[in-house]
Subunit: 252 residues, 2 copies
């Protein structure tokens, strides 16, 4: 079943009970792939097993990786959760779990891997992780205390994913003509682009990160095809070629 | 704030961690009234407090009652959750959390108290409790393992309640002309009705409970006004009066 191709990624989870409860609700909703990035909690902990109930097999098979990039390298859409408000890092592409679930299902029906990413308790995803997400999810809460328990945030997102899956169109639209760029190719592009834009001093100093983040999200929102990503990669390389061949000619 | 008038009722909760996590997500979503019916877990347990975080005050103020009826006596709408499928007790009025949340908010905007009721881990609400709910909620899951963790079920229902609250109409429709019958009056009516229908042998033997359940849900769905409830109460009394005055005249 293609819903299984949605991976749940927990970044630095601290509490074994949350690992178990996340695995349980994955079993409830029909998901299987759990990836733990630098987990602080041990998935073999007794409390994790106790909370996992019928999700114990998911917990046992969980992949442990050192970096978010490794967890989502093959994914065409990576959605992260964030309760924190304000700042450049979440002005863009923040949506409710229902809206993002529909986008994820639109990829899942074509058997393309996607990921839902959750940050550590209690701080959530840091800016370095947030900037790598194509979409950010904000779960609506009251204003006074927006920070949800990790396992409950997972439950709410997977509930919406299940709903979106259950109401998906049985008559699928034709796959788009061009294959989407996967996360790994996109990261490669952003790395090359950053180097190129630094070489022409478009990016420099303390504003560099913010500008790069804005570019990433603009391109992320556009959902680049593989061909488009390669086109932009060519552009980045051309900029560097130009700089390399003209720098010494500068009349300084 | 009127969203606070939605009470969360946990029937016989077994695990302190679930009490705490339920209180926390209530704080997240802007609710305050927690009622525990015959709790097995102690709300003062260290694990409950730990899981409650900013919901600790809600946990401390939780009311403990001996009976579901006492928990929801003044409520005009009582919604219970049920994962169990099949059987008469949940053929009727089962809906998703989104649909029921809209119904609850429609009362809350008029400051009328309502309740969300959750059963014990792992069995859920029993038939005696289910028959007293005006609406049943089924949270969509995969088919293999539908039984959600209690605190995650609470999170999903309160998420939908919060969403329904946030999108409520700022321009409210006029309150209905007639005040709705509260739970206590409805229970009184059902008790009188049952006695009356037993007196005329409409209800008897093993099918009695099922028929009474069907009647309750038919009337529950109609959302009786106080005046209508009193009208039916008068009918029930009239049946008994008739039986009392004609029974001895029966040509047996």
């Amino acid at each position: 079943m293609a819903l299984e191709h949605c991976r749940v990624v927990l970044v630095e989870p601290h509490y074994p009970g949350n690992l178990g409860a996340a695995a349980r609700v994955m079993a409830n909703m029909g998901l299987r792939e759990l990836v733990l990035v630098r987990p602080v909690a041990d998935p073999a902990d007794a409390r994790a097993r106790q909370m996992s109930t019928h999700g114990e097999a998911i917990l046992e098979r969980a992949h442990i990786v050192a970096d978010l990039g490794a967890a989502v390298a093959d994914c065409v859409l990576v959605a992260g959760t964030s309760a924190r408000a304000g700042g450049l890092y979440r002005q863009q592409t923040v949506a409710g779990p229902d809206e993002v679930a529909s986008l994820l299902v639109a990829e899942l029906v074509h058997d393309r891997p996607v990921a839902l990413v959750f940050g550590a308790e209690p701080s959530g995803l840091d800016n370095a992780a947030i900037t790598r997400c194509h979409r950010l999810i904000r779960i609506p809460t009251g204003p006074e205390y927006p920070a949800l328990n990790l396992a409950q945030a997972v439950a709410i997102c997977l509930y919406e994913l299940r709903r979106a899956w259950d109401r998906r169109q049985p008559c699928l639209p034709a796959p788009p003509e061009l294959a989407p760029a996967d996360f790994k190719l996109q990261e490669h592009l952003y790395g090359e682009l950053r180097t190129a834009l630094e070489a022409i001093h478009f990016l420099y100093g303390p504003k560099g990160d913010s500008l790069m983040h804005a570019l990433r999200h603009l391109l992320g929102r556009a959902r680049l095809s593989e061909m488009e990503a390669k086109l932009l990669l060519g552009l980045a390389r051309q900029i560097r070629w130009y700089v390399d061949h003209h720098h010494s000619d500068d009349p300084l």
